[in-house]
């Protein structure tokens, strides 16, 4: 992490007092016990107590706090529910945590325009609940949806099991209100499309709190599908299951969701909640089809045929809603189920080309064995988004380090086969030092120049995403390339 600013630490009491005047009442936490509650996010291996926690309730307060922090050179770490898995909300010792928990209202469900306007601290699930009476829902459905917030979803560009067909957060986000580090409030996008101008909404989505603080979001709502049915498919090997995934897509079918679980994950969930998964299978797929009843029935038949042709040993189509939910029950409890069979686990998140899934799963098993560890896989197979769970025991000396090293091995493997470091959990601190395996120095410098346009002093969530921090002045300086690349055969200016 960036070296702590000792001058800021020395002024802590005075800074806290000023923050209290900006956000009165219970809005500032500065006591040891209170701060502990904020010392990590979902990546619990890393902990740090912040300088203070500030919990504003209104956009003007966010603006005032950020302006104050910029003028005092204080770093700011935005935070939603703290379920992030890459350390994006990990506090800094010389920075405040800006918690958006009090921004917890759904401002409007606009059914005619198929959208909702919500504050960032609203949970993902509550948006769909508020939309349900209108026959609408919010499509991105991360497994953490009862807890995680829309602000966190925007910052991580989160996905879910249904994003194969309906897209990730970016696809379903129409607009935000964003407060910059200098306190400026800008509105990007909104209920109307085609606003012209640069797609700053696009870059803020997935920016991991490094560009500013989201204080309001307008999200797209979709009509609830008329019907949904799921197929439970069992295969002898993960490779067979992976081939089936590719065959379904190649047949022109894009299911609502297509999830895979391997043997260790099947065993753990079956023991945990008895969803009735085939115990003779080396891997299972859950394939959900939704839409008009006639369409769903037709596609269920087609997928079943593709699966049988691909050597499926179990093919079960849900006959009713109860059975569909039972198929999903195991998948949805896979994380806690794995938590039962191991003291600790790390959840990785690379995306790879679908054609390489079988090969990567195989090589991953070998990589794990080489480090003396085991891996369980439960993931979004339809879009090639792997979630290897690395099982380890933090109380065993060296195991955390081995697990992290294996994580890095796996992500490098993802990049090697043409994939990326993270599909939906973000870079944070977890994958920060691997950015160089995917991007050149020039690529990363350009990304940081973009950050400078939003945050010239580098105070918004520094130390995350980028392996090396550069000053904006240094990044902007004109440099060596200019005029030194002359190709003799090109026309001259």
């Amino acid at each position: 992490m960036p070296a702590p600013d000792l001058a800021v630490l020395a002024r802590r009491a005075a800074l806290v007092a000023r923050l209290r005047s900006l956000v009165p009442g219970e809005g500032v936490i500065a006591d040891e016990v209170g701060l502990r509650a904020y010392d990590c996010d979902g990546l619990t291996a890393y902990r740090q107590v912040p300088l203070a926690v500030v919990l504003p309730e209104r956009t003007e307060q966010v603006s005032a706090v950020l302006r104050f922090c910029q003028s005092e050179g204080v770093k700011v770490v935005p935070r939603g529910a703290g379920t992030g898995l890459s350390g994006g909300a990990l506090p800094l010792t010389d920075g405040i945590v800006l918690g958006l928990g009090k921004f917890n209202r759904i401002l409007e469900v606009d059914a005619a325009n198929r959208c909702a306007v919500v504050q960032p601290g609203v949970t993902n699930l509550s948006v769909s609940q508020a939309a349900a009476p209108h026959g609408l829902y919010y499509a991105p459905d991360p497994s953490s949806q009862i807890a995680c917030t829309i602000g966190g979803n925007v910052a991580e560009n989160s996905g879910g099991v249904h994003c194969l067909k309906y897209g990730v957060t970016a696809t379903n986000l129409l607009g935000v209100e964003l407060v910059l580090m200098d306190g400026t409030v800008v509105r990007l996008g909104g209920k109307a499309g085609d606003a012209g101008g640069y797609d700053l909404l696009g870059v803020v989505t997935g920016s991991e709190g490094l560009l500013g603080v989201v204080t309001e979001a307008t999200v797209r709502l979709l009509p609830a599908p008329a019907t949904a049915r799921a197929l439970l498919l069992g295969f002898t090997t993960s490779a067979d299951a992976a081939r089936c995934v590719a065959a379904v897509i190649a047949a022109g079918i894009v299911p609502a969701g297509m999830e895979m679980m391997d043997k260790p994950a099947i065993d753990a969930t079956e023991a945990f909640c008895h969803p009735g998964y085939p115990m003779d299978a080396g891997a299972i797929l859950i394939v959900e089809l939704d839409g008009h009843a006639v369409e769903v029935d037709e596609l269920v038949e087609r997928v079943a045929t593709i699966a049988r042709d691909g050597g499926a040993t179990t093919v079960r189509a849900s006959a009713d809603e109860d059975e569909r939910l039972l198929f999903w029950k195991g998948r949805k409890s896979a994380f806690p189920a794995v938590g039962r069979i191991t003291p600790d686990y790390l959840c990785m998140d690379g995306t790879i080309p679908r054609a390489r899934v079988a090969e990567v799963l195989e090589r991953m098993t070998a990589l794990a064995a080489a480090r003396g560890l085991r891996v369980a896989n439960v993931f979004h197979a339809g879009d090639g988004n792997l979630h290897p769970l690395i099982l380890y025991d933090a109380n065993e000396p060296g195991q955390l380090e081995a697990a992290e090293a294996l994580g890095a091995d796996i992500l490098k493997l993802c990049v090697e086969v043409g994939g990326v470091l993270t599909g939906e959990h973000g870079v944070g601190i977890e994958k920060r030092d691997l950015m160089g395996t995917m991007f050149s120095d020039a690529d990363l410098a350009q990304q940081q120049r973009l950050k400078c346009a939003f945050d010239p002093d580098g105070l918004a969530n520094p130390g995350k995403v980028f392996p090396t921090l550069h000053r904006c002045a240094e990044l902007g300086r004109m440099h060596v390339h200019e005029g030194q690349l002359k190709f003799a055969h090109l026309p001259r200016f």
Partner: protein, 398 residues
């Protein structure tokens, strides 16, 4: 003015570096089909991407295609069609408005254009997965990836989509592609007034029929259609498109006819007629004549579409609605205050077609709040500090 025709990203980079050293500026061009979009550009040189041509990578079961930026869109679409796939955002045919020229992938993405299926499939920007580009630092950078789901680093592909070439020269682009629907039907409903059509579109877009496009064309505009059923209707036309597996499309078409036919006469378009109608709707072609009239595209909250259309008509303009009311195409002579009208209905407008003289004089893009305009200027600076690319295309003097 010499034409610059680089053959690869390294040559582009060399040209940009030299242009910077020489204080030159560059207009970036693919097939030239969208030169008339945006403000007129006053660049000292034109950089053509026609030699940056060819598909780099395409694996149908990955739903991903990578091509060099100057690749003709027709080549990409033909290849995808061979594999039963397409660009789902329905790249619109701009020729009726902007004249001929073979559209390229780079131009399409730079202008972020999508057609009627945008209602369901999203805009062009939602389908751009990765880019390689040369920035105004004379550096080759890449961002995004070649897989459908990726949050590694800022989403620069989205930023470049719709940037009108002002941030850098895209040299290669990775697109998400999707299976093409097996069957298509368009249901037409005749004779509705704007208000009734507006409510019906709201209902259909919220409903379970999964319409992939939804438009409303008033009588006088419908009369110019090349599709006989539409031109000969002698009334306004609401069009709803249903796509998907055959049995599903037939069942939903039946359901749509039952619902819509209760109150007004209905008709059904198949194959060629359906495609022709949506092509006309997709980029304002129904308003193309007379060529002297400025044509605008407005984005408004869909439920305000019908009211915005009426306000424009009252001001003497002519227009029609796409995207369930969210997109309004209008032909309006000066001095109809289109930007003001759009703002009053919660949206924005863009001048899509007008002579260069008019595009230099009238605001082409919607005015922005000062804080946002300042942020955009800083973003431009972050990519092109010397202002080498497309001077004036989006903002006068920038």
């Amino acid at each position: 003015m010499a034409a610059l025709n680089p053959a690869d990203a390294h040559e582009v980079r060399a040209i940009v570096g030299e242009a910077m050293a020489a204080g030159a500026t560059l207009a970036v061009e693919g097939g030239g089909s969208k030169r008339g979009l945006g403000r007129p550009v006053a660049a000292t040189h034109t950089l053509s991407l026609v030699r940056l041509d060819g598909i780099i990578d395409y694996a149908p079961s990955e739903l991903v295609l990578t091509a060099r930026a100057g690749t003709a869109l027709s080549v990409i679409e033909a290849l995808l069609a061979q594999h039963g796939q397409h660009l789902a955002f329905e790249p619109p045919d701009t020729s009726a408005q902007l004249g001929p020229g073979a559209p390229t992938l780079g131009g399409l993405v730079a202008c972020n254009l999508a057609g009627p299926r945008r209602l369901r499939a999203g805009a062009c920007r939602d389908h751009v997965l990765g880019i390689e580009a040369v920035t105004g630092f004379a550096e080759i950078v890449k961002a995004g990836g070649k897989v459908v789901k990726n949050v590694t680093g800022y989403d620069l592909p989205k930023l470049f989509a719709g940037s009108f070439g002002t941030l850098g020269v895209m040299t290669a682009i990775t697109m998400k592609v999707l299976p093409r629907p097996e069957k298509t039907r368009t249901v037409l409903v005749f004779g509705l007034d704007g208000a009734a059509a507006g409510s019906l579109m709201i209902e259909l877009a919220r409903g379970p029929l999964d319409v992939s496009a939804l438009a409303y064309v008033p009588r006088a505009v419908a009369a110019r259609s090349a599709v006989g059923y539409v031109a000969g209707a002698g009334s306004s036309v609401l069009a709803a498109r249903l796509e998907g597996p055959p049995r599903s499309v037939l069942a939903r078409t039946e359901a749509a006819r039952a619902r819509l036919g209760a109150h007004a006469p209905v008709e059904e378009l198949h194959g060629h007629n359906s495609a022709a109608l949506w092509r006309e709707i997709g980029f304002g072609a129904l308003l193309a004549a007379p060529a002297s009239r400025p044509v605008w595209r407005l984005g408004v909250p869909p439920a305000d579409g019908a009211a915005a259309l009426r306000a424009l008509e009252q001001a003497g303009a002519e227009g029609y609605l796409d995207a369930a009311g969210g997109t309004l195409w209008a032909a309006a002579e000066e001095p109809v205050p289109v930007h003001d009208l759009a703002a009053r209905h919660g949206g924005t407008a863009m001048l899509v077609r007008a002579p260069a003289e008019a595009r230099a004089r009238m605001p082409v893009f919607a005015p922005q709040a000062p804080a946002l305009a300042a942020l955009e200027r800083r973003v431009k600076q972050a990519f092109d500090p010397k202002g080498v690319f497309e001077p004036g295309r989006r903002v006068e003097g920038v």
